[in-house]
Amino acid sequence: MDWGFIFERTFSAMIGPEVMVYALAAVGLNVHFGYTGLMNFGQVGFMAAGAYGVGVSVFWLGWNFWVGVLFSFVYSAVLALLLGIPTLRLRADYLSLVTIAASESIRLLARSRVMQPITGGVEGVNQFAGPFYDLSPFELGKFYSFGPFKYLGRDVWVLLVGWTLLILVTLMVRALMKSPWGRTLRAIREDEDAARALGKNAYFYKMQSLMLGGMIGGLAGLLQVVQKASVQADTFNPVITFTIWTMLIVGGVGRIWSPIVGASIYWTLIVFVENTLRQLPDGTRASLERTIELSDFNIAMLRFILVGAGLLLLARFRPQGIFGSREEMALDRR
């Protein structure tokens, strides 16, 4: 087994593009669920909105890339508005039904034959991110090494921009949550009626929260497609939403840095397990394939089995997350 290779992969994954994108989407989800108590089960829909916002405006409308970037913010905010209007006056579970349904519908619509001229259908949209890479100070095709980390020049550029944005957005969320505005959100999370009785328009605040978190999710989707240089409908599968949920709960719901910590831990673990399994000696591998059907395909599926099991067990035993405060957890049990 090539442990050097496994560790190189694992280290690179720790702060790699996936962690960056998922952590950002998790920051948005944290605004929704962690601070406001909104059950958004369709974060991937906001990511798709951000991604197609830029993809469609460049591919179909022929707009400038940067105008497309602006448009993708507007688009994810509008999506939040549309989903919020029918649901935010109702009990929490209605939002979850509508968001999961909408996120899957967005994927189906984007990949459909009818939308082919606009979204590129199943093939999606490519070659729209040129202006972004034109600004890169790094040679796009060259490998750069930093200690244990090793990335292509284009990835270094994406990561630099992405992580800067991630940290800026996280700091912005922190500032907001420390303000009276954030206090009101947390109050609504704890008890909406109490907040209303004290003169807070809960519906309005929930809508603001849904839009803010949705736009952050849209930014995550935007970064993802810029990094991949293509918009593919099927990358916005609902299971991504729950990967993000798992990351958030691992890091600790309603804590500022938890999305980054959770995404990094979760993704590092996944990459380590997958690469280790793939690098197993042939004999071991063959016997595993015989006994527990551990084919290449099934190694990929293992990731999702772990997401499911992780989410189930975390929600059951550590709903505040591995790093959640014990004190807050004790309050939940009351």
Binding site: P180, T184, G254
Partner: protein, 272 residues
């Protein structure tokens, strides 16, 4: 807030006229006329299922009337959502306390202040625009906490409080909105006797600050001790009104409460 109503102390602060609310064919509330007198303590009593809490919900906008009209200081408020009513000076507490467990006591208090600049999204991003107001709010909150004897819990999670402390916090928090009308839904339920007395004193002090109190209560001793006026509900209707002394000897009230147990002194029974 209208000038004429504020001018006379005699004008009722809250009125309800022909207020009807039905649930599945059942008339939960059917109040022909009710006027709440300004700066007085009015008790709302009645047996279980009399519609007291539903009536409370209608007055505070948490539930909507089927028909009828409610006014606050002469202004029609029927159909207005609770947060607007709170902004107009009508605040309530809940039968089952709603403290915000994962916020500290002081945060619970600060939440109560109205018109905070920092509660607007864009201002929130610029701390300079709200920190001064926040300090004022905090000072006011600390003063009220002191009065309610909760200063020692200031920085604890509200979720760690005892039932009685929660009742106190909820009332203290309600006062942060600077209300003209304070509506307390069973303020004494589950409060131990030691705390109960101080809570009663706090309620009794409210009219002097220019606040009207309406409260739902089961304990007749409490009603007798602090209320200026008692309204009795049964099966959704108001069956009697009067001073505590009048109500105590009202036969209709005794009937509604006690059914067959005639002759018993009302203050001797713990009504539930």
């Amino acid at each position: 807030m209208t000038a004429d109503s504020a001018a006379t102390d005699n004008a009722p602060v809250v009125t309800a006229t022909n207020v009807v609310k039905t649930f599945g064919g059942l008339r939960a509330v059917d109040v022909e006329k009710l006027e709440i007198r300004r700066n007085k303590i009015t008790a709302l009593i009645g047996p279980n299922g009399a519609g007291k809490t539903t009536f409370f919900n209608l007055l505070t906008g948490f539930d909507q009337v089927d028909s009828g009209e409610i006014t606050l200081d002469g202004q029609i408020i029927t159909g207005r959502p609770p947060h607007q009513l709170a902004g107009m000076g009508m605040v309530r507490t809940f039968q089952l306390t709603k403290v915000l467990s994962k916020l500290s006591t002081i945060e619970n208090m600060k939440l109560g202040a109205l018109n905070q600049r920092g509660e607007k999204f864009w201002s929130a991003l610029v701390p300079g625009s709200w920190t001064k107001q926040e300090r004022e709010v905090e000072a006011r909150a600390d003063a009220i906490l002191k009065r309610f004897n909760l200063t020692h819990m200031r920085d604890e999670y509200a979720g760690t409080m005892s039932g009685g402390q929660r009742k106190l916090l909820e009332m203290a928090r309600a006062l942060m909105t600077e209300p003209r009308v304070v509506m307390l839904d069973e303020p004494m339920a589950g409060v131990n006797p030691a705390l109960a007395q101080s809570l009663l004193e706090l309620i009794k002090a409210l009219p002097a600050e220019g606040r009207t109190v309406i409260f739902v209560e089961h304990n007749m001793d409490v009603v007798q001790e602090i209320s200026d006026w008692v309204v009795v509900m049964a099966e959704g209707r108001i069956i009697a009104e009067g001073t505590p002394a009048e109500i105590k000897s009202n036969k209709a009230v005794v009937d509604a409460y006690l059914g067959a147990h005639h002759g018993a002194d009302l203050s001797q029974v713990e009504l539930s």
